[in-house]
Assembly symmetry: C2
Homo-oligomer: 228 residues x 2
DNA sequence: TGATGTGAACCCATTCACAGCC
DNA sequence: GGCTGTGAATGGGTTCACATCA
């Protein structure tokens, strides 16, 4: 109920910062040193005014008449997003999705590393997933404390998601990414972000249906994610 | 440029319909026949006025003083989202993510079925993934036409995503779900929806960082998804 | 001159509050 | 009496346009 001292960066802008970041990293690897809001906008498929406003939330890091320094801006976005450190992550659920996430190179490439994968299914325990050995869910708290984990990923079936969330919270995890199609119940102060793959497909199928009936192009969209 | 005859349902509401749908299905399986906006709101973790407004976009399917009929509302949402049919889907990329998606039971449980998985890597071709045999990317167009596929999933590495999108569009697919961290370039009229797992984590890490500095709870959020 | 940074206007989404119907 | 459906008010996000400064 008391959400007084607001986060600085507006939600919508926050969601675009990682996009700019990736583009900046790509530009840097092409030895580009300067970029204008116009160019960034083009590459991110948004408009230039939005880019400038988004970046202005970080501070005034551009140079009028010139543009933005790629290196410097990269650093500033990373710092703001907390990506100047590597976050240890634990995955609950070693099924198909859990395995895919653990193996997903994109995760380790962008400042995260998996320090544990747990499951309740004894047939999965002991197997190697993404370079980490799967352990029993009972050891979750131990891993979280030993490795100072503050971000957990729920990749269990829907019916075990709440239980997984409870375990994570009890173990001291402060932020949860939920891949199960469930609305999680967590204490005030714990961040939850939800990605529901089937939900995304359902929305896409609506667009496709629209395409077939009239030839209307739907505008930009967004996926729900809740925090509590 | 010409996006005149707007889609009926506002973007934000559209993103919540699948959530209500799932809840309704769960209620029905518990033999619940009626539900109020208050109850739905509770279960979906949103507020009751929002539920009513969202549902009002579908039509006036509630009964004043009583609530909504679970069966009937379920049917109406499914119809609106185009889920009264089973959509054939093709997956491009048979890596970890592609495999996880193909095996993901949530997809088939909710009105979609995988009719093809293609890859360019010859070592993957012929293997069985989610009940479907992986074929060469060259056969994509053939599969799309034979099975009347209109939704494609890109689960390739970033550097092959644009190529995959081009192939899908050329084959006649009208809607694309993109799991690669790339802004795709597609012709006007093709729907693109993007899910970037690392981006989600980056946003979550920002929340977590906020949690540690001040104890502010971030509000609701959303993930980008673009269409063109 | 050229591109940033930003007040102001606009537009969409959320919320309120109550009229309308069972 | 209870709950839906919805105009009206509010608030946040996007876009415009221009003052500002290298």
């Amino acid at each position: 109920m008391s959400d007084s001292p607001r986060r600085r960066i507006p939600e919508a802008a926050l969601g675009r910062l990682p996009v700019y970041l990736r583009i900046l990293v790509d530009l840097a690897s092409d030895s580009v040193t300067r970029v204008s809001s116009e160019q960034l906008a083009e590459l991110a498929a948004v408009n230039a005014a939005k880019v400038r406003k988004d970046l202005s939330y970080l501070g005034t890091y551009g140079t009028r008449g010139v543009g933005y320094d790629v290196q410097f801006l990269t650093y500033q976005i990373q710092r703001e997003l907390g990506l100047n450190q590597s976050w240890p992550i634990v995955i609950v659920g070693a099924g198909n999705l859990g395995q895919a996430l653990a193996n997903f190179s994109g995760i380790s490439e962008r400042g995260f590393h998996i320090v544990g994968v747990v499951d309740k299914d004894s047939s999965k325990i002991g197997s190697l997933v993404g370079g980490v050995r799967v352990t029993h869910a009972d050891e979750l708290a131990q891993i979280v404390q030993a490795k100072s984990v503050s971000i957990g990923i729920i990749a269990t079936p829907a019916q075990h998601a709440q239980e997984a969330a409870d375990s994570l919270v009890r173990a001291g995890v402060g932020s949860i990414m939920n891949f199960a199609p469930t609305v999680l119940n967590v204490p005030e102060g714990v961040n939850v972000r939800k990605v529901d793959l089937a939900l995304e497909l359902q929305i896409l199928s609506y667009y496709e249906q629209c395409r077939n009936t009239s030839n209307v192009t739907p505008a930009d969209t967004a996926t729900g994610a809740v925090s509590a």
